[in-house]
């Protein structure tokens, strides 16, 4: 099978600071990739380059057949291509970013209605199914301010799924949560993985990684230092720096 995400020699500079130093990574359909590493190692930036919330400085990214080289300027045609990629790639943020002026169900159907021009009724029906799936059917008409952090993040996942994406990107989805709320979010992600969703997950939840990830990628100073199956990597990392990081977080 062809990879659904291809990252080729990706580089990203913020001014003088080089955050990504030539990353290459292929993700097969249905794979769950856990990206981990110290803060500042470039894990979030890598994820954000995949849906072009950050413009790559160099290299190439391909998502589900849409291939884009890094470009110095973002012109109209490129913006349109970026939008195509974003419609295929759902993203879940550390701090949820739900729309506070919209109810839960309105949060879900906003993009399907506005971006994909789906009818309200159709989108709503699918949205309610998704809310049921993340265990929040009874919160459909609630406003985000009334939800706990864990509930907010589950709504955010449902909101991304409502666009029927091909891949899902998770940027530290449990880092802003109180410890007792982490499990309910991981549960939803686990279910999603079981259904065969392709996922790239930046997280420190090594328990989740061990159980769910098909591959783990250790980033260090903007490079892939090591990658492998969770069982192999967690118990037998080759590189000293990977081992030291794992010792600290396990």
């Amino acid at each position: 099978m062809d990879p659904i995400i291809k990252v080729e020699n990706l580089e990203k500079h913020f001014g003088d600071l080089q955050v990504l130093r030539g990353i290459s990574l292929d993700v097969e359909p249905g794979e769950v990739i856990v990206i981990f590493g110290r803060s500042g190692s470039g894990k979030s930036t890598l994820l954000r380059c995949v849906n072009f919330l950050e413009e790559p400085t160099g290299g190439c990214i391909e998502v589900d057949g849409v291939r884009m080289e890094a470009a110095p300027r973002v012109l109209r045609a490129r913006r349109e291509q970026i939008r195509q990629i974003r419609m295929k790639a759902g993203m879940v943020f550390q701090d949820f970013n739900l729309f506070p002026h919209l109810s839960v169900i309105e949060n879900l159907i906003e993009a399907p209605c506005i971006v994909k021009k789906e009818s309200k009724g159709e989108a709503r029906e699918f949205g309610l199914q998704l809310l049921d799936k993340v265990g929040l059917a009874e919160k459909a008409d609630e406003y985000p301010i009334r939800l706990s952090g864990g509930q907010k993040q589950r709504v955010a996942i449902a909101r991304a799924l409502c666009m029927r994406p091909r891949i899902m990107l998770f940027d530290e989805p449990t880092s802003a949560l109180d410890p007792e709320l982490v499990a309910e979010v991981l549960e939803v992600m686990r279910d999603l993985a079981k259904e065969g969703m392709t996922m790239m997950v930046v997280t420190h939840e090594m328990g989740f990684a061990r159980e769910v990830a098909s591959r783990m990628v250790f980033l260090h100073e903007g490079k892939v230092l090591e990658e492998g199956k969770p069982a192999d990597l967690i118990s037998g990392a080759r590189d000293e720096r990977t081992r030291r990081f794992l010792e600290a977080v396990l």
Partner: protein, 284 residues
């Protein structure tokens, strides 16, 4: 001087200690009542002309509807201009930002009274230049109420541009990223995500601007007398040699109007700051 000061101090001490049992609100009420009585006494002491006020009061008060209409029209126009001004100032386009900057700078840098007179008297002059195309006569000459709305709207729009800009910038970057990540264009993000949330920040100060405009609308009276509230007061007051009566009446009305609108503005502000109020979007 020191002798007087010391005496005053002693009197104050005695009043304060003697009234320590009286609640402050009651004292405040007594002061207001005292001021009201003093004003009434002044009115009768100087034998102001009550017959004049009975005769001409209705005409002066008849300016209220137009004053209100001008202000509602003016604030509506100002909000539209402020929205474009704010989007312009935040735009990445040089044309949009340059135009917005010029608008704000020019309008804020010239007096409102000059702008009013310019729009009402100077623009029509352009319509009659030999080089002017004929259609200018239809678009540059307008009734004073329309000129007033135009002048107040343009003027307040420039000041409110900063209010709108602050409101738009108060919407977090995470909100914009979330919208983009869902595939929304910049325009969709602005319209569906940023502006509905900015409204919450924008509405209370816009209420204040409306109240300020209510008072500034009196400047229209400089351009055309006998039309709105102040113009009518000035016209009759000077014409009948009763300026005190006429202007006092107008002042009371402005005060009353601003008090009423301040009351509603505060309630609105409290409601919004409570945080759960929905501003945008329909029900279910």
């Amino acid at each position: 001087m020191t002798g007087v000061g010391a005496t005053m101090g002693r009197v104050r001490d005695r009043v304060e200690s003697g009234s320590s049992g009286v609640p402050f609100r009651v004292k405040l009420g007594l002061v207001y009542a005292g001021i009201a009585v003093a004003l009434v006494l002044v009115f009768f002491w100087f034998q102001f002309d009550t017959a004049f006020m009975r005769e001409w009061g209705p005409f002066i008060l008849g300016g209220i509807p137009l004053t209100l209409a001008i202000c509602f029209g003016g604030i509506a126009l100002a909000m539209v201009l402020a929205l474009f001004g704010a989007l312009g100032r935040l735009s990445k386009s040089a044309v949009a930002r340059g135009s917005a900057n010029f608008y704000v700078s020019f309008v804020r840098g010239t007096p409102l009274v000059v702008q009013i007179l310019f729009i009402y008297f100077a623009l029509p002059q352009l319509a009659f230049k030999p080089s002017s195309p004929a259609f200018l006569q239809t678009i540059l000459i307008f009734p004073v109420a329309f000129a007033a709305i135009l002048a107040l709207g343009i003027n307040y729009g420039a000041y409110m541009t900063e209010i709108f800009r602050a409101g738009i910038q108060a919407v977090g970057g995470g909100q914009i990223e979330a919208a983009h990540a869902l595939g929304m264009t910049d325009a969709q993000t602005t319209r569906r995500v940023v502006l509905p949330q900015a409204v919450r920040v924008i509405i209370p100060p816009t209420g204040n601007e409306f109240i300020a405009m209510l008072k500034d609308s009196a400047l229209i009276g400089i351009a055309a007398s006998g039309v709105e509230l102040f113009g009518r007061a000035q016209n009759t007051g000077l014409g009948q040699n009763r300026p005190f009566e006429a202007l006092a009446l107008a002042a009371m009305v402005y005060w009353l109007l601003t008090s009423i609108f301040s009351f509603f503005q505060k309630r609105l502000e409290n409601r919004i700051s409570r945080g759960h109020v929905r501003i945008e979007g329909g029900g279910h």
